[in-house]
Amino acid sequence: MTRLTLDRLTVMRGTCPVVDAATFEIGAGELVGLIGPNGAGKTSLMRGALGLLPHDGHCSLTAMTPHGRARHAAWLPQSREIAWPVAVETLVMLGRIPHLAAGQRPSEADRIAVADALATMDLTGFEARAATELSGGEQARVLIARALAQDTPLILADEPIAGLDPGHQIATMAAFAQLAARGKALMVSLHDLGLAARHCTRLVLMDKGRIHADGPPASVLTRENLAQVFGISAHMANGPDGIIFQPLEVLA
């Protein structure tokens, strides 16, 4: 089942297209890694798809009403803003806003969704702590939990694992993979190609606003693509533990 359809999505900054005619679909069960160098247009692609940037072309999300969209897609921005020292549980409960009617208080179902999201992100026991007093990595996990609590069929996350310790990076990617296995669709931008190769079911490689390659990790992380887009060489092996990917050096 298709969760996101982009057809020639174009986002302009001035006269320069930062996303140039991006076309692809994401279906249920997919964990799509969005990779590419800095400035390739990954963030603009996702923000454009969510209707947060003006764009040309068709996107299945922007065709929805704001309320309908909020129930279909959760968005985890790159900037990790927590403006007020609210309790972790309160912050994660914000993810339930799209499910509440005007003036409605959170129900038992909402509380269960929040508790599940906290457990998934290894945050049980943090409920009453002030979110602003946690470490940067802990705050990042709280914000991921907020997006999970929104309980949408589609999740878009902009560099969710940047700044997490290795254990929580792996755990977060594994949690995403598990959500995908349960029928959700996720699109996650990230710079760690090793984690992307290992956990994502599919990679979309962007370069200068265009989709350079799209497919299973092994077919995207080819020697030519890496050289052309990132200017690096890498070692990739397909062992009994899955794909092992290690970037080696910058090509002259």
Binding site: W84, V86, R146
Partner: protein
């Protein structure tokens, strides 16, 4: 703690309201005063209670609630605890609007001319603030924008006084600008009430949107919050509240700073709960300050705005110090 807060604030406000009714230079007895208020027995005491003290106490509640609510709403939107209508020039611009109306005689043209002028001044100031500082501007930009707008409003106000042909009107305006609730009548109350009610109706439902904005604009927009509408509602609501409050009471600053600051830890920092709490807290704060000005210097007509500034400015300094430390 949050659950007990609202009944507690309501009780405190009601108690202060009663004390306000019983405070004044006339020196009537407690029973006599209340009896006159309710039954209308005794001509002088009834007049004082019904025409002087009652409108003053009700206005204190309305002005305080409006200023507290505006402060909490602005802070929630800008995600900055330093945003306060008085500090960032909104009250000053509203006062400018009112002064221009008074000096040009526009205020006498029709009954609503004065509050509408104050409201226009407030709208311009809020729009300028949002344009200059925006929600991503940070504390420094916000304060700088506020200083600029306050300075401009102050300069234009000085110009209006400078060019005023009537020295008596000038001194009256200067005292009016200090902010006071003394000698206000029911006509003032009816003038301000519709605008304040409109402001409350616009600001109080913003709670959920302001909660979502805790996560930033992008996340809030993706959760279905319509930011353009929220911003418009905020601008009009704050302008209606501050404009109306300034039109009847002059410039009273710091209510919107002190009250949300005191209540924020109690409500768990949630902007949605802080809105009604700050309205109640603002009412209590202005009632208290208005009782204090009558008790501290009964003969000298101490101005409410002056007292609030003396209480509020040190707290503002403390807040800047704390924000600086948190930013470092």
């Amino acid at each position: 703690m949050t659950r007990a807060l609202f009944p507690l604030l309501t009780l405190v406000s009601m108690a202060l309201f009663m004390v306000s009714l019983l405070t004044g230079p006339a020196g009537f007895g407690l029973g006599e005063s209340l009896q006159a208020l309710v039954t209308g027995q005794g001509e002088a005491v009834t007049l004082v209670m019904r025409e002087i003290r009652l409108p003053r106490a009700i206005l204190a509640v309305m002005v305080g609630a409006s200023l507290g609510l505006s402060g909490a709403a602005l802070q929630g939107y800008l995600r900055n605890p330093l945003a306060e209508p008085g500090l960032i020039g909104v009250s000053g611009s509203a006062a400018l609007g009112a002064v221009i109306a008074m000096q040009t005689g526009f205020a006498a043209a029709f009954a609503l001319a004065l509050p509408l002028s104050a409201l226009a001044g407030a709208v311009i100031a809020v729009l300028l603030i949002l344009m200059l500082a925006g929600p991503r501007g940070g504390s420094l930009t916000l304060i700088l924008a506020g200083i600029a707008i306050s300075a401009l409003a102050g300069a234009l106000m000085s110009l209006a006084l400078n060019l005023s042909p009537n020295p008596f009107a000038t001194s009256e305006t200067v005292f009016w600008m200090m902010g006071s609730l003394a000698d206000r009548s029911f006509s003032h109350l009816w003038l301000a009430a519709p605008f304040m009610a409109l402001g409350w109706a616009l600001l109080l439902p913003l709670g959920r949107g302001l909660d979502a904005l805790t996560l930033g604009e992008d996340a809030a927009a993706a959760m279905g919050i319509q930011l353009a509408r929220l911003r418009l509602q905020l601008v009009l609501g704050v302008a209606a509240c501050v404009g109306a409050a300034t039109a009847v009471a002059g410039a009273i600053g710091f209510v919107g700073l002190v009250v949300p600051h005191l209540l924020r830890p109690i409500v768990g920092a949630r902007p949605s709960v802080l809105l009604p709490a700050s309205a109640l807290g603002g009412a209590a704060m202005v009632l208290l300050a208005d009782i204090a000005v009558r008790l501290i210097l009964p003969e000298r007509d101490l101005k409410l705005g002056v007292l609030m500034a003396i209480i509020g400015a040190p707290l503002f300094l403390h807040l800047i110090y704390k924000t600086r430390r948190a930013g470092a």
